[in-house]
């Protein structure tokens, strides 16, 4: 059955008319039109679809979009300001944390949630914080370097 509701994505309100069974991922990509959030497995296994709901990481492929109404959704598009990359984005590029880039938005959203909650995250904390995000390319070392560096520099460092 079709439902009408409002989703707030990156502080912008969108009127959605969509089947109640649609996942948050499919509505963000298909209705809102933001395609930075990726679909890897569509099964809660890979983390490519990670977005923040009220600041906390959520696998958007396995979360009903209707259930996110009234909550603040943040996607990868919400991090950069204009053309200036967010410090996590910049560090991922500079530390070799990006190859094909498919896992990158999800990695960054998980890392953001972790460092926001725990600015003093250790390497062990970071490994566990990113445990729900898979990368087929990098071998994770560049990703770890990028997030460790961001923890040191601070999440809100200007790019």
């Amino acid at each position: 059955m079709t439902e009408s509701y409002t989703l707030t994505v990156n502080e912008v309100a969108y009127s959605i008319v969509a089947d109640a069974q649609r996942s948050l991922l499919s509505v963000i990509r298909g209705e809102v039109g933001l395609t930075g959030t990726k679909e890897g497995c569509d099964d809660s296994e890979c983390g490519a679809c990670m977005v923040l709901v009220d600041g906390r990481p959520v696998n958007s492929c396995s979360y009903l979009a209707v259930q996110a109404q009234g909550r603040a959704i943040t996607t990868i598009e919400g991090l950069a300001s204009g053309d200036a990359l967010h410090v996590l984005q910049r560090n991922m590029l500079e530390e070799g944390g990006v190859q094909c880039g498919f896992c990158t938005p999800g990695m960054i959203m998980s890392a953001h949630a972790l460092l926001d909650q725990n600015p003093d995250a250790t390497e062990e904390d970071i490994r566990l914080g990113l445990a729900g995000n898979l990368c087929r390319c990098t071998g994770y070392a560049g990703i770890m370097k990028a997030v460790v560096r961001t923890a040191r520099e601070g999440l809100s460092t200007d790019s």
Binding site: M1, E3, D19, A20, Q21, S23, D42, D43, S44, E45, G47, M50, R56, P57, V58, N59, C61, S62, Y63, L64, V66, Q67, Q69, G70, S110, A113, L114, E124, R127, L128, G129, A131, G132, N133
Partner: protein, 297 residues
Amino acid sequence: MTFTLASSLEEALDAVAAGATPIAGGTDLVVAARGGRTPLPESLVAIDRIPGLDTVTTHEGGLRLGATVSHATIASHPDIVRYFAGLADGSALVGSPATRNVGTIGGNVMNASPAMDTGAPLVVLGASVELASVAGTRVVTVDDLWTAPGVTSASSDELCTAVLLPAQPENSASAYVRLEYRRAMEIAVVGAATRVVLDGDGAVTSVDLALTAVAPTILRVTALDVAGSSIAAAADAAREAASMQATPISDIRASDSYRRHTVGIMAGRAVEAAAGRAAGEQISVPVNRAFGIGAPA
């Protein structure tokens, strides 16, 4: 599909009375529907916005966990970590940070998987669930709740509103250890929870033991009489009783004989960890890390 976002318990109870299926985090329900495996029910009522249902409060000397309390909250709540550590051990192992943020205790308990990680700890802690319907509220022990894989003794018009943790005996502590092949995004191969009560001299007064993923439901081990024995002897007895009483299956994750063997190992370790905690040793949550279980990250 019809969808109701309940803003009060009354609204949710009316919806389930009218045939709707409750959804909390959806990490079981929605994930089961991915790829068209188990279609979502025709009518859903979301219970994650009901005020007060996500709070931890004191209750008759113990704690009352609202049904939508998340695994993330359980794993880090100071009173749960301190007095009900075995439950925190279980919740801390669930999925990934995202799964723990979204997944709830009510969903875990009502999904009734024999591999659920809060199940064995709740059994040894003597927990009950509060079930509410438009007709009223009743309390059932978790032992009486799970009847078969995925099946509970609750009726379809009942909501779980809380999990009740009773006050624990003096000189006691709990622990939950699970065998996992990796440290995240894993399902228990087998698991064991214990609550150990010590006497004043460091000998064992009693051991409660429950097992994960070795029977159609969480299995409470019976006739474990270890009063007066040393911790080492109690761990041996737990190891033997767990392997004897388990009735595991073989599947892609492990054979029945491997499960039977390893559930004993987990039971012995759980006794050692719970006894250590009861004696005042600081063993952080989840205790799996102290044993180095799962491949290093």
